[in-house]
């Protein structure tokens, strides 16, 4: 049996040649994403907006417009109704009812009564109610988790590598997260707690790519002290290209099956992860690596200073011996 070889040996692609175009494109994407989030906003689920969500499955496919009128007619405010997987499964989102807990209970039972009367055979599969206070906390905690994860990881990279690498990875994480948010604003897919989990996974995952290449850059910087940084980065990326493709392909296979076969409940989660695989790979090559050129990384960073006067030991020297 011949083994599959996705990438030919000894490729020599000049990845960094297009870094000017790439960074322009990325900046435009970031600006567009920020604008989209600002203008269209994110379609917050009940986790972040507060309110009530009911998931209902019907005996037969229903007309969303009719259902919208029916639910709207109860007088609980404007419902947002979406199909959920199949035409007979629907999610109904209602604004936070007035009157707190009793209000929420009353609202759910009024919807239930209406469904029983108008749509025999329907079944409420799930109810989620989140009060305004809790949803505010969830937004705050989610944002905090994202921010701290990015900073924490950047600091770790700074300690393990050099400050330029920290900056590069932080910027590439910022890039990935912003564009994913832009995607959610554009498609108006529901943005809930699971998406925050996906974004944090994205951060970890996109970093995987970055670290594998940075690790190779570090190795090559020690090995080829005279090579100019652009060629060195290109060399590192070509050397790790087979790995980049193999890993991302494996991830796409796993996520793809989750996306097409898995339960609808985690659709937005898997979508966010799928996007992250694509964006993460791109940003490693065109965002994380070019920063090393701009910040003028060179071999000196990784050559241990032997007993320099004053005894200032470089952080990077800890890495010697691997």
């Amino acid at each position: 049996m011949r083994l599959l070889k996705l990438v030919p040996d000894n490729t020599n692609i000049d990845f960094l040649r297009w870094r000017g175009i790439a960074i322009t494109f990325s900046v435009m994407m970031i600006v567009a994403s920020v604008a989209l989030v600002a203008v269209k906003g994110l379609n917050f689920g009940v986790d972040f907006a507060g309110g009530q969500m009911l998931r209902v499955s019907f005996a037969q496919p229903v007309s969303l417009d009719e259902l919208r009128d029916d639910v709207g007619g109860i007088g609980l405010g404007e419902p947002s109704i979406q199909e959920f997987g199949s035409p007979s499964e629907v999610s109904i989102r209602l604004p936070l009812p007035e009157g707190g807990e009793e209000g929420a209970n009353a609202a759910a039972s009024r919807v239930r009564d209406m469904l029983e009367a108008e749509y025999p055979g329907s079944r409420i599969d799930a109810v989620e109610t989140v009060s305004g206070k809790v949803s505010d906390e969830l937004v705050r905690d989610g944002a905090l988790a994202l921010l701290l994860a990015m900073i924490g990881i950047a600091i770790y990279i700074w300690i393990r590598f050099e400050w330029q690498f920290g900056v590069g990875s932080l910027f590439s994480l910022f890039h990935d997260v912003t564009i994913t948010l832009g995607f959610f604003a554009l498609t108006q897919m529901e943005f809930d707690l699971n998406v925050i989990a996906a974004l944090l996974t994205l951060i970890g995952y996109s970093l995987n790519d970055t670290i594998v290449i940075y690790d190779r850059v570090r190795e090559n910087l020690r090995k080829y002290r005279k090579m100019d940084i652009t060629s060195l980065l290109n060399l590192s990326m070509n050397e790790t290209l087979a790995r980049t493709i193999a890993t991302n392909l494996a991830m796409l296979l796993a996520l793809g099956s989750l996306m097409f076969l898995g339960p609808d409940v985690i659709q937005s989660f898997t979508t966010a992860l799928l996007i992250s695989v694509v964006i993460g790979t791109y940003s490693t090559i065109y965002i994380a690596a070019p920063w090393l050129v701009w910040l003028k990384v060179n071999s000196d960073s990784f050559i241990p200073k032997t007993a320099a006067p004053g005894g200032a030991e470089r952080v990077a020297s800890h890495n010697e011996g691997y």
Partner: protein, 534 residues
């Protein structure tokens, strides 16, 4: 020869066998596992509510409620303490406005004595020398009692402990359901009930404070005044939705004959004559005596049974009720009578609780999610396994065995820690598989690379593992950072994801690096291959 000493092979194998053994029970139904001999591991992975179906409720206490209760209690204390002082201290103009209790001491010479008494009944909080109330004198004769922040905190804390108990008794009176009821933060209680079919009923049960009072009905009240919501002095107007007189309110005396605090038991039963559902209650000794005396004095008059300031019925006292037993009838169903009995039995909630977050998943949806999740997981895994086999041949097989062991190890560790598998947790599995695959891809690509540079077989493999290690290590540490933050800031299902991810990172590094290395080393030692196909 790739270095992998014999003792290490034994250790790694032992660890794998133990880990996998703990994963096994999770694949069998609970009832079956319960019958296994006791030397076998029987711990199972819990399914989260989003998978098994059930309700997750976050209850929040009304903090201002606690503060108000403390003020009211302090007012009572002031009155009794000043009365009990010898000689009695005359006070006047007691006020509870502005969140403080203040009163005038009529005799200026007794102000110091009054302050002394009040100081002695305040309690120290912690070790900082702070007390639960500050006692001050203003305008020479007015004593002001201000609750301190730490005093309020301590009061809230003990109220929440009691509330947790009460909630537990209401949700699971028989102790048969697998409920989770834990305090969260300073003023919240998390309730998780698996497989519940009636979340509305549960919420109603939890929302009630269940304060039961027996009060005499004020028959002298003027109906016209009552209609305006005014009652004679010493009486109050309370809502009475089922009033046979037609009006939805009734006047009762302010003073209670007996209160629910004096109850020792409450059971749902049936009325002997009408066969309607009722609640039978029993008072303690003091309550029973008091009840007997009041009913003796008021034969022929009605008294009101009041739950949370709403009159549920107002029967006539036909004869003195001796023996400390009574029956509450109203328009009950068997269920509502049973609910009321549970509420009365569990005592009253020391503080009002509101549901601030609810997530209920029906059992059918949960089952659907599990089924689809498992299908997707299996298909995804099989695709990845096939990919690895096609790309790396023998090394792919090793990676695949490691991958399967990895999944089993995660399950085993989750079972040992009694962790909960949620839907995002299944996604966490997929991610872990990705990480494990990545580690093997990095290693195998490196081996290819080294072989291409003309190294010998053993040297290529040796270098492949060695050079790949730093990248794998750094990449996984960053994922641990993300996972920890996710666990710390996440809630509910998201935490489930973080747990799987963090366990998975440890096991995937172990299986993808150490275990495959062992396989390769054993293979090299046995076969001594002359050509490397990777």
């Amino acid at each position: 020869m790739l270095d992998f000493p014999r003792w290490k092979v034994w250790w790694v194998s032992l660890l794998l066998v133990v880990g996998v053994a703990f994963a096994v029970p999770s694949f069998f139904p609970e009832e079956q596992v319960a019958k296994w001999p006791s030397f076998l591991p029987r711990m199972q992975v819990n399914l989260g509510l989003d998978l098994a179906g059930g309700s997750h409720l976050l209850l929040e206490a009304d903090t201002s409620d606690v503060a108000q209760q403390r003020i009211a209690l302090m007012e009572e204390t002031v009155r009794t303490e000043m009365r009990r002082a010898s000689p009695r201290i005359q006070i006047g103009d007691i006020s509870t406005s502005g969140g403080k209790v203040s009163f005038m001491v009529r005799d200026p010479a007794r102000v110091d004595a009054a302050v002394e008494i009040m100081r002695s009944i305040t309690q120290p909080i912690g070790l900082g020398g702070q007390r639960d109330w500050n006692v001050n004198v203003i305008d020479t004769s007015r004593i002001v009692l201000t609750p301190t922040q730490s005093g309020l905190g301590a009061a809230l804390d003990s109220a929440m402990d009691v509330a947790r108990e009460v909630v537990y008794n209401r949700v699971d009176p028989d102790g048969t359901r697998e409920v989770t009821i834990v305090r969260q933060g300073s003023d919240r209680i998390l309730v998780q009930v698996p497989g519940l079919d009636d979340p509305e009923g549960l919420k109603e049960l939890l929302g009630k404070t269940a304060r039961l009072d027996f009060k005499l009905v004020d028959l002298d009240a003027d109906p016209a005044q009552l209609a305006q919501g005014r009652a004679p002095p010493g009486s109050q107007v309370l809502p009475y939705p089922d009033n046979p007189m037609g009006v939805p309110y009734i006047a009762v005396e302010r003073r209670a004959m007996v209160t629910g605090d004096q109850l020792i038991d409450a059971q749902q039963g049936f009325d002997a004559t009408t066969n309607e559902p009722v609640v039978n209650i029993r008072f303690d000794g003091a309550g029973g005596r008091r009840f007997a005396r009041v009913t003796q004095d008021n034969v022929g008059k009605p008294f009101a049974i009041i739950l949370d300031d709403v009159v549920i019925s107002a029967p006539n006292i036909n004869e003195p009720i001796l023996g400390g037993q009574a029956q509450i009838s109203g328009s009950f169903t068997v269920e509502s009578a049973n609910d009321l009995a549970i509420q009365l039995r569990s005592g009253k909630l020391p503080v009002e609780l509101k549901v601030v977050e609810e997530r209920t998943v029906g059992p059918d949806l949960g089952a659907d999610s599990i089924r689809l999740g498992i299908i997707a997981g299996v298909v995804g895994t099989v695709l990845v396994l096939a990919f690895m086999l096609l790309t790396y041949g023998r090394f792919g097989v090793y990676a695949n065995i490691a991958l399967i062991l990895n999944v089993l190890l995660i399950l085993g560790i989750m079972a040992i820690f009694n962790a909960t598998l949620t839907l995002p947790g299944i996604a966490g599995f997929v991610l872990t598989i990705g990480a494990a695959v990545d580690a093997n891809v990095i290693i195998n690509e490196r081996i290819r690379e080294e072989a291409r540079r003309g190294r010998t077989i053993i040297s290529s493999i040796e270098h492949g593992y060695k050079e790949a290690q730093t990248a794998i290590f750094d990449a996984n540490i960053t994922n641990v950072i993300a996972g920890m933050l996710l666990f710390y800031f996440g809630s509910g299902p998201v935490r489930g994801f973080a747990v799987v991810m963090m366990i998975g990172i440890v096991t995937s590094v172990f299986t993808a690096v150490t275990v495959t290395r062992m396989f390769v080393s054993l293979w090299l030692g046995r076969k001594r291959p002359t050509a490397l196909r990777i």
